[in-house]
């Protein structure tokens, strides 16, 4: 038995050492989650406008073109649950927070990061925001993404010297107009990816949970005297044409009912805003840096007008 265990340990040792080294190297790579946590740790008491949400706001809202002390703490596929977790994590630090911009897009009411195909991203909240998870994989970079992708990340950072893809104020810089994708193709694939069977038991449960989270966010805002602004981000028509009308109507119905019930909530709908043209989009549902500037200025103007009311 001793001989067997000794051999097992000896054989496993190089694999364990390699795994620990890879984990260490991966954790040293700068990423938007670690940066945003660090920024919020240090500056949350100065933030006046906080942007939450998923990739639509991460790439679409650049705080550099908004009011002073705006910070974008959205991330790719960040669902309402994680928006709320970020808020509660820093609830005692947000001394000057006056406005929260919360995107509600076509997929948002049925989105749960931990349950979807992007669930590997949960590790970012566990490792870099210090949130809890019941899944062991979420506590490790090495275990949560396959080795090939991890090695590519290491190569990109340590050998090729990959650039940082977020701004100082948390805006995602990767979706550049010089690298725009085919709007027809991405319209179809994104619409397909975002369309759910909203009548399935799982999706109905997620919908109910998300609605409860939305109410919790509103309660948080009311308690802290913060204005909650719901927005729907701009999209290109090739995306809109491929959406399920049932899901889209349900999404709008949810927002309008919520806004009707809560007069202190404002809703700004840019979903089919004609100001945004082909040149503003990276793909059919994400703005590029030109669109992000246009959208951020427009949003800032609307918020400013609301504040003057």
């Amino acid at each position: 038995m001793k001989k067997f265990l000794k051999k097992i340990i000896l054989i496993s040792l190089p694999i364990i050492v390699a795994a620990i080294s890879i984990e260490y190297l991966l954790r040293q790579i700068p990423n938007e989650y670690a940066y945003k946590r660090h920024y919020l740790d240090k500056n949350s008491n100065k933030i006046e406008t906080l942007i939450l949400g998923s990739s639509h706001s991460f790439f679409g809202i650049n705080p550099a073109f908004m009011m002073e002390n705006t910070f974008n703490s959205s991330n790719v596929s960040q669902s309402l649950k994680y928006d709320f977790k970020i808020l509660t994590k820093y609830q005692n630090n947000f001394k000057n927070l006056t406005t929260i911009v919360l995107p509600i897009d076509y997929f948002s009411p049925w989105q749960d990061l931990a349950a979807g195909s992007e669930n590997w991203r949960v590790k970012n909240y566990v490792l870099y925001y210090g949130m809890k998870s019941f899944k062991l994989n979420d506590y490790s970079e090495f275990l949560s993404i396959d080795l090939q992708k991890n090695l590519t990340r290491i190569k990109d950072h340590y050998i090729t010297g990959g650039a940082i893809s977020y701004s100082d104020l948390g805006w995602g810089t990767a979706y550049n107009s010089s690298k725009s994708l085919d709007l027809i193709k991405t319209g179809q694939t994104a619409a397909q990816r975002h369309t759910n069977d909203i009548f399935s038991k799982e999706n109905q449960e997620t919908y109910t949970k998300n609605l409860a989270i939305l109410n919790s966010i509103l309660n948080f805002c009311n308690q802290h005297n913060i204005k909650l602004i719901l927005i729907t981000s701009p999209t290109y028509n090739t995306y809109r044409e491929n959406l399920s009308k049932i899901q889209l109507n349900k999404m709008f119905e949810t927002i309008y009912n919520f806004v009707d019930e809560h007069k202190d909530v404002t809703y700004l709908n840019y979903f089919a805003d004609t100001d945004f043209t082909e040149q503003d989009f990276y793909d059919a549902d994400h703005l590029n840096e030109i669109g992000a500037e246009k959208f951020s200025r427009k949003l800032a103007h609307s918020i400013d007008s609301l504040n003057k009311l």
Partner: protein, 375 residues
């Protein structure tokens, strides 16, 4: 759920999971064999309740077999087990090989197979044929991989489980294939259904009846879907001529026995058998019979000579399948694909082990649930 709904019983998913927990068809058969063997006075009923429940729920093979017999497994719970180094090392090798078959072969093939089987109408004939071949290796890698992991794990604890696969894709006829594929289920049906019905020692009409019963029941065991019944019936039709002509035990030895390479005749027999098995797998994999017919019809058209789509994934699957076939060919007289590794020089042996581990870590396909967990 649909079957229950048809009977007017509307169940929730979680209720069904309680009524029909994972692996139910495996341990039901295991418990049945115990009762039948007692009835037949093959074994004495056990008075050791812990041994009995350990036999029914032995964790390595609980969810997907091998379906053990009380005559083999139960006495092993009574005996004192001492740690056996050689057995444990071989168990580890078998686990490693099982992981490779599941994670690298089956899960990579599954990506290609799922894409093609989801849209068969839009695929070329060559793509359809390739996906059918890949499905053959997916289901083999998935199921025999699980069996290897289960048998290997049991060996670490000093238990010997029965063999479940004996390199079935090296078979030279359908009868040989069924002696090598899912052995624990096939022998269960043979011992508890086929032989009690008279087997092949009855009139020809009854042999035909018995053959169809055993294959249709085997198909039905996989699920209440006509595709499984047709798959069973198809194999019955292939098996029948062999049993009627008394040639079903023609190939009881190993292919290319005492030789490195097979003869041309053996190659021909192997090729035909493999193609027939693949045709059967199309029914097994398809959601409906209509879909399977469309799929098979799609293979037989002029686009057969077109280059299949998905070059990168095809090359990856092909290389790993080649490695699987080479290792299993070299070990075709043994229990599993890595059994003879102890004869290799330690340096080469460890390099090979690390290569397998690296392949598992680097080329893991998209995680798929074991196919046989649904049965």
């Amino acid at each position: 759920m649909e079957a229950f709904a048809a009977a007017g019983i509307h169940l929730q998913t979680h209720t069904l999971k309680i009524i029909l927990p994972v692996g139910v068809s495996f341990y039901t058969f295991q418990a049945l064999s115990y009762s039948i063997d007692i009835y037949r006075k093959k074994i004495e009923p056990t008075r050791d309740i812990i041994a009995f429940f350990a036999f029914v729920s032995f964790f390595p093979q609980l969810v997907a077999g091998p379906i053990e017999r009380a005559t083999n497994l139960l006495p092993q719970f009574y005996a004192r087990r001492n740690f056996d180094y050689a057995k444990a090392v071989d168990g580890m090798r078998q686990i490693l090989w099982g992981l490779f078959k599941k994670i690298v072969i089956a899960d990579n093939c599954a990506v290609y197979v799922n894409q093609v089987f989801d849209t068969p109408q839009t695929q070329s004939s060559s793509t359809l044929l390739l996906a059918a071949i890949f499905f053959a290796f997916q289901i083999y890698g998935d199921f025999s991989g699980y069996s290897d992991i289960a048998i290997g794990t049991a060996r670490l604890f000093g238990f010997n489980l029965m063999r479940n696969f004996n390199f079935p894709y090296f078979s030279r006829d359908i009868a040989e294939f069924w002696r090598r594929w899912h052995i624990s289920l096939t022998t269960w049906f043979r011992d508890y259904i086929y032989i009690p019905l008279g087997g092949n020692r009855v009139s020809k009409a009854k042999v035909i009846r018995n053959t169809f019963i055993i294959f249709l029941v085997s198909g039905f065991w996989h699920g209440a879907n006509w595709t499984f019944i047709v798959w069973g019936g198809f194999h019955a039709l292939l098996f029948l001529p062999l049993v009627l002509l008394g040639k079903n035990r023609k190939n009881t030895n190993t292919i290319a026995e005492n030789r490195i390479f097979p003869t041309i005749t053996e190659c021909f027999q192997w090729g035909i058998t493999f193609l027939l098995v693949i045709a059967g797998w199309v029914f097994f994999r398809a959601k409906t019979i209509g879909e399977a017919v469309v799929y098979l019809a799609g293979i037989c058209n002029t686009s057969f000579f077109e280059i299949p789509t998905g070059k990168k994934l095809i090359i990856r699957c092909f290389l790993f399948i080649l490695l699987l076939l080479i290792m299993e060919w070299l070990n075709r007289n043994k229990q599993h694909g890595l059994e003879q590794m102890d004869k290799v020089k330690p340096i080469f042996r460890y390099v090979f082990y690390y290569m397998i581990v690296l392949a598992i870590l680097l080329f893991a396909g998209k995680e798929q649930v074991f196919i046989y967990f649904q049965f």
